[in-house]
């Protein structure tokens, strides 16, 4: 792999510098693409130039676009999913501003997950990218009727659920902490509510979602496996609106409207679960005293000062609270704030400056007299991003920028009262700074050939103060060095080349290839088979090296029947270095010497992903199938041999069908099937002091039983034309009541101590749900 990296690096440097050698007499047409009704910016709208010169661009995250054209007459065709395509004639004689307003298409026949342009999947050099149009996922059946973008993502090839009802996901063999989850550019560290049953993302508040499985553009970095870029809704700039929903588990309410008409808008959206309201009804006082709920609030405001300056402020705040009478309390949650300034220099240089704050923390309180204590743990980031987009000429679009992130991790502060048997323990905070700079160029070599080349330079510095230890092979401390405040303990510097290209075979087919290197400087500590709100992150150190991944992918993309059907097959190979596992018997709870327990090894993942989608018509949907292998190798585990990572699943199939016979009813169904996870089961047993013990041979050498399930849902819209628009959604999760294994345990039979039993626990059998949604 290092050779591939070197070659890729040379190619990229060559590509990037060749750009500045030739220039052409061109004019710039630039502006924003917005929704004609609400004034909201449209992300990813396609602006195509037809005629002799076949060229085009996609509007960016703020709806901005810039096109370079020579003098002459052109026809611009502007399109966006579920909007009417607009065709506009322009005469180019000078640089000019052109804002485009698209009207919504009410005859909605397109499918949920869709490219912005009819043939974008074929013509764009980007691969490994999936976009989810949040507005339209409402009809897909979900657990307990809670719409959830993260669960919908798991129905795509290459993206796998981390477990029953779990919002965690694995992308192309990576672990859950190798996904970069950004909400309005702010990293979200624990994207789940209620122990993973629901994601922190309230669908009402989300406008756009893109997930990159490979070929990540150079502006993204910091995680190995994927980038999930989520943009919050901006609110209507013209009229006020209120919408909401009442479901079995939670209720939602959202309000939006103009701050100054056509200049600025706001959006605020909140939801809360009410399991605890049912607890309060219990006649039993020991049940009444318990709490269990979560809530979250998303808010965003924007204001356009003038044509050149727009400001955005957005925030998220969510919290889960759990309490057992007066004896135990546990709460956790994320808070993020993003402030942004869009500025246009001249007509070609678009700038975005973001200042981002992100905080995840949890608190555990044990109120039992003799052992009372409180644990506080947090991870806090300050993040400054400066991004530029520059339309160099008709064939080259440059992106470049810098990013600084300052991390502060407080692994755990233990406090207790004077009378408690628990001591006050303050585990040292850890601080670190990530610095990155990137440049990338999208180059239209010819009408058939596109190349995106990028280079990202990323560095990480571990900062004092604190006591920093070094360990030997067995985890024994060899030395401890004390550093003062602000001192640099260790710096890592990496170059991350990114290269992707597509060659269009004909108007309906193309081949693509990509190479991506990613580096990860922050690591989730979890030796558990499930995720927990108490899992902490650690930074690189003298002992913990940055995790590295090199991914090569290639694909064939084909549309047929006038782009009504979309088909793709992608092949990937990924090699991973500096992966982390744990010594046997590691206890991560309250462990202030975690690094002594870590083992380092490598990994490899490869697979083949098939995707077939029908995009239009009364009946549409998609099928995704992944054939894959994910393995790890550690000197101290499994005798130093390769073993299957727990997320290794040979086969993974998802089928989604949506049927909309008329204006009011829509029906949908989801079917998923996957090979069971790789697990360790006993291959023998013995006795220790009269207790049955199990003898394990190879690590992850067994499989949990295969997982499959079918869900159904039906949505009834009220008659159109009324002021209050409402809809009913009915759903059934796990229609045929498949008893999927959540866990498999081995225990002595309570009725016959000479026998050992295998016990399968199923979490969810068949579950009906109903939700009422409204909007006015």
């Amino acid at each position: 792999m290092p050779n591939i990296q070197r070659v890729a690096l040379l190619i990229i440097i060559g590509l990037l510098f060749s750009k500045f050698t030739h220039a052409q007499r061109n004019y710039t047409i630039s502006g924003t693409v917005t929704d004609a009704g609400s004034g909201e910016a449209l992300i990813g709208a396609s602006i195509q130039v037809s005629g002799l010169l076949k060229t085009g661009v996609i509007s960016n995250s703020y709806g901005f676009y810039a096109l370079s054209l020579p003098q002459g007459e052109f026809e611009l065709s502007v399109s966006f999913i579920s909007y009417k395509t607009q065709v506009q004639r322009i005469t180019v004689t000078k640089n000019q501003k052109l804002n485009i307003k698209l009207a919504e298409n009410n005859q909605l026949t397109e499918v949920v997950i869709s490219s912005t342009k009819r043939d974008e999947n074929v013509s764009s050099p980007q691969m490994g990218l999936q976009k989810v149009n949040v507005r339209e996922i409402g009809t897909i059946p979900v657990l307990l009727g809670e719409r959830d973008v993260l669960k919908t993502l798991q129905l795509l090839p290459g993206i796998k659920s981390a477990g029953e009802g779990n919002s965690g996901f694995y992308v192309r063999g990576g672990s859950t902490d190798q996904n970069l989850i950004l909400l309005d550019e702010a990293p979200v560290y624990n994207a789940s509510h209620l122990l993973g049953f629901f994601s922190t993302f309230n669908s009402d508040a989300i406008k756009d979602l893109s997930v990159y499985k490979g070929g990540m553009p150079a502006q993204y970095g910091g995680r190995l496996s994927s980038v999930l870029d989520i943009r919050m809704d901006e609110g209507n700039r013209k009229t006020y609106g209120v919408e909401g929903g009442i479901g079995l588990i939670s209720s939602r309410l959202k309000a939006d409207g103009p701050i100054v008409k056509d200049k600025g808008s706001f959006m605020i959206s909140a939801r809360r679960t009410y399991l605890d309201a049912f607890l309060a009804l219990s006649p039993d006082s020991s049940i009444r005293g318990n709490t269990l709920f979560f809530y979250d609030v998303n808010a965003k405001a924007n204001y356009q000062l003038n044509e050149r300056n727009t400001f955005y402020l957005s925030g998220y705040f969510g919290r889960d609270k759990l309490g057992i009478s007066k004896s135990f309390g546990f709460n956790w949650g994320n808070a993020t704030v993003t402030a942004r300034w869009n500025h246009l220099y001249g007509s070609k240089l678009f700038s975005n400056t973001s200042l981002i704050y992100s905080n995840y923390n949890y608190v555990i309180q044990n109120k039992n007299d003799v052992n009372n204590f409180e644990v506080n743990s947090s991870i806090k980031d300050y993040n400054l991003k400066q991004d530029y987009e520059y339309n160099l000429n008709g064939n080259n679009n440059l992106k470049f920028g810098v990013n600084v992130i300052h991390h502060t991790i407080s692994p755990g502060k233990l406090t207790s009262s004077e009378s408690s048997s628990i001591n006050q323990i303050n585990t040292e905070k850890r601080k670190g700074a990530e610095l990155a700079a990137y440049i990338s160029d999208e180059w239209k070599v010819s009408n058939r050939f596109n190349i995106v080349s990028g280079l990202r330079l990323s560095s990480f510095s571990l900062l004092g103060p604190g006591n920093f230890r070094n360990y030997d092979q067995d985890g024994n401390t060899t030395s401890t060095v004390i550093y003062g405040k602000g001192k640099i303990i260790k710096t890592y510097l990496y170059l991350e080349p990114r290269l992707s290209a597509n060659y269009q075979l004909n108007s309906a087919a193309s081949i693509k290839a990509a190479y991506t290197r990613n580096v990860q400087h922050i690591h989730l500590m979890s030796n558990s088979t499930t995720t927990s709100p108490t899992d902490v992150y650690i930074l690189n150190s003298n002992n913990v090296k940055p995790e590295l991944s090199d991914q090569l992918s290639a694909g064939y993309f084909r549309n047929f029947l006038s782009d009504n059907y979309e088909f793709s097959v992608e092949l990937y190979y990924k090699s991973l270095e500096n992966q982390i596992e744990y010594r046997v018997g590691t206890d991560l709870r309250g462990n202030n010497n975690v690094e002594a327990e870590l083992l380092y090894g490598k990994g490899r993942a490869y697979g083949l992903e098939f995707f077939l989608k029908k995009r239009y018509g009364k009946f549409n949907g998609w099928a995704g199938y992944t054939l894959s292998r994910t393995e790890r190798k550690f000197d101290q585990l499994n005798g130093g041999d390769w073993f299957y990572a727990k997320q290794d699943r040979t086969h993974d199939l998802s089928v989604v069908g949506i049927y909309k016979p008329g204006r009011r009813w829509s029906f949908s169904s989801v079917f998923v099937y996957n090979t069971g996870n790789a697990v360790t089961y006993p291959s023998g047993k013995y006795q220790i002091n009269g207790r049955t013990a199990f003898y394990y041979t190879e690590k992850n050498g067994y499989r949990t039983p295969a997982y499959h399930r079918m869900d159904l849902s039906a949505t009834l819209e009220a008659k159109p034309g009324k002021k209050l628009q409402s809809s009913w959604s009915f759903g059934i999760y796990n229609v045929y009541n498949r008893q999927n294994a959540f866990s498999v345990d081995f225990k002595d039979d309570p009725d016959d101590a000479t026998r050992t039993q295998v016990i399968r626990t199923t979490l969810f059998g068949i579950i009906p749900s109903v939700t009422w949604n409204f909007k006015f």
């Binding site: 307990l144 048997s421 709870r589 006795q687 220790i688 199990f694 008893q739 026998r755």
Partner: protein, 264 residues
């Protein structure tokens, strides 16, 4: 923790909708690994016969049993060099003459079985006495249960590891370990989470508080993790043994402080 929280979540939901988690006994096709030597050695600070038990692992589907390994030569050597010979009194059970381990001393176990040598070193920590026992009611979602609490004073100067053996009606019903990283030097009250609800008032229970070295602690902690005790569920693996040559099991040298209490 997670498992308990999930149970809690599941416990609440049925009140609202028609589902609940469900457990079922299933059959799995498990491999039959080649038998492995298992050694469980136990040396305490009480003047008594001490035992080393040697067995072999067997197939999962077989009945639970002590699969004795006979004909081994078993020797324990103290730090001062005194050699204690163990003789096989019943198949697989090797017994010493009466003696007691001394706190602060380490002991070396040498087992020779079928030409293979297995050795282990374990040291006896300084003794901590079990001061008293009391009972505690724990209420969890409408269900109240009774547990026993071990009270003792943790010495401040050293790192301590404890093993608790709860015996009811002559049978060990619970085995757990703890260390002092959160409560070093304090008066400690640790609840042993084993439900005593089925016992009648006046029924005796016996708790043995043992001090063990770090390696033995890690062995039993890992053992508990595999059984779903002690924290979040982990991918199971053979607990790290302090015995050489790939043997399973542990050589556990420990102090012992026992108290008996009657259920109220």
């Amino acid at each position: 923790m997670k498992k308990n929280l999930i149970r809690l979540f599941i416990a609440i939901l049925p009140a609202i909708i028609l589902f609940s988690s469900c457990e079922k006994v299933i059959t799995l096709d498990l491999k039959n690994a080649k038998a492995k030597v298992v050694i469980y050695g136990d040396i305490s600070d009480q003047t008594d016969y001490q035992y080393i038990r040697i067995s072999r692992s067997y197939n999962f589907t077989e009945s639970n049993k002590f699969n004795a390994a006979t004909g081994a030569r078993v020797i324990v050597t103290s730090q001062q060099g005194s050699v204690i010979n163990f003789s096989e009194i019943t198949p697989g059970v090797y017994q010493s003459p009466k003696f007691r381990g001394i706190p602060g001393q380490s002991y070396t176990l040498d087992v020779t079985l079928d030409g293979q040598k297995y050795t282990s070193v374990s040291s006896m920590p300084e003794k901590v006495f079990l001061d008293s026992l009391n009972f505690r009611q724990v209420s969890f979602f409408g269900k109240t249960s009774t547990h026993v609490v071990a009270n003792f004073e943790d010495p401040v100067e050293i790192k301590n590891q404890y093993r608790y053996l709860l015996t009811i009606k002559g049978k060990v019903v619970e085995e757990v370990v703890s260390d002092d990283r959160f409560n070093n030097g304090n008066k400690v009250s640790n609840t042993i989470y084993h439900e005593l609800n089925d016992l009648k008032p006046g029924d005796p229970i016996e708790l043995d508080l043992q001090c063990i070295d770090r390696n033995v602690y890690t062995y039993f902690f890992s053992f508990g993790q595999n059984m779903g005790e002690g924290g979040p569920p982990v991918s199971p693996a053979n607990p790290p043994s302090n015995i050489s040559n790939g043997a399973l099991g542990v050589f556990c040298v420990h102090t012992s402080s026992t108290r008996i209490a009657k259920v109220l």
